[in-house]
Amino acid sequence: MRYLIALVSGAVFGVGMMVSGMANPARVIGFFDVAGAWDPTLAFVMAGAMLPMAFAWVLRARVKTSLVGDALPGPALQTIDLRLFGGSALFGLGWGVAGICPGAVVPALSVGGWPVALFAGAMLVGMLIARIVLNKIGGVSAAHAVELNASR
């Protein structure tokens, strides 16, 4: 059942990323190019995605477990620290260069060819390096460990 749900939600996610234009780097960069030919599409994508999720969080408060019986994520973390700002800034600066975010990678791989594959490889290397360094310096603080567990 878990795998079936992952299959359906994954497929719908992939379709949504392609239909919306989020998987197209040129459109993403167009959204951030406020000084150029601004393309507002991404705002509609975010608004559209937020709507069902807001309902889902309301429902989440009324149910005890997920459909498959697993625990639901607890309350959101509130830690706002340098690591959050630094990581987000680095992510944003990189996002503006090629226009691909982690959610767009896999859908864009479908017809994106070698450039998307190269980006995907580099992104994985970056993720693994950061994970290894964080583990070494004990960067998985109690708060982050909770978040990691909640996302598993």
């Binding site: 392609m18 951030f32 987000s88 944003g92 990189g94 996302s151």
Partner: protein, 144 residues
């Protein structure tokens, strides 16, 4: 300004992204944060969580392929600069891992539950992306 029916596609596709995330949350009890799912599908291959993540990603790939076959021609316009792709990939990878989330985790899933932490992250990476595009396009003057 690029403004034809793209906004409708954006809204419709966005709704699908939100529905997918809602189903993953209420169905499996998991937050559909793509940076976490991607890393977990690679590093947790021998756990159930990792296999569920991999299933999600494989299905996303298949769904995208189906759309590409259905709606010809679908555009994936991306730079072919090796330096840009590698630098961008490494920055994104390190950044989202430090921040514990990206556009889907903090942006869609976090903002929709009114998390201040996610709001701080989203404003930061959106602002940084706009800055990055401004610097590259209008200061350095390259169109990647």
């Amino acid at each position: 300004m690029v403004f034809d029916t793209a906004w409708l596609h954006g809204l419709g596709g966005g709704l699908l992204i939100g529905l997918a995330s809602a189903l993953f949350l209420l169905g499996n009890g998991r937050i559909a944060g793509m940076s976490g799912i991607t890393l977990s599908s690679v590093t947790n291959v021998n756990t159930r969580a990792g296999r569920v993540s991999a299933t999600f990603l494989l299905a996303a790939f298949a769904g995208a392929l189906a759309v590409a076959a259905w709606l010809q021609p679908i555009a994936i316009e991306v730079t072919d600069s090796v330096i840009a792709l590698v630098a961008s990939g490494v920055m994104v990878g390190i950044g989202v891992t430090l921040a514990n989330g990206c556009t889907s985790g903090h942006g869609v899933c976090g903002l929709s539950r009114l998390s201040l932490r996610s709001l701080a992250a989203t404003l930061t990476f959106m602002g940084a992306a706009a800055l990055s595009v401004f610097l590259l396009r209008h200061v350095v003057g390259v169109s990647l």
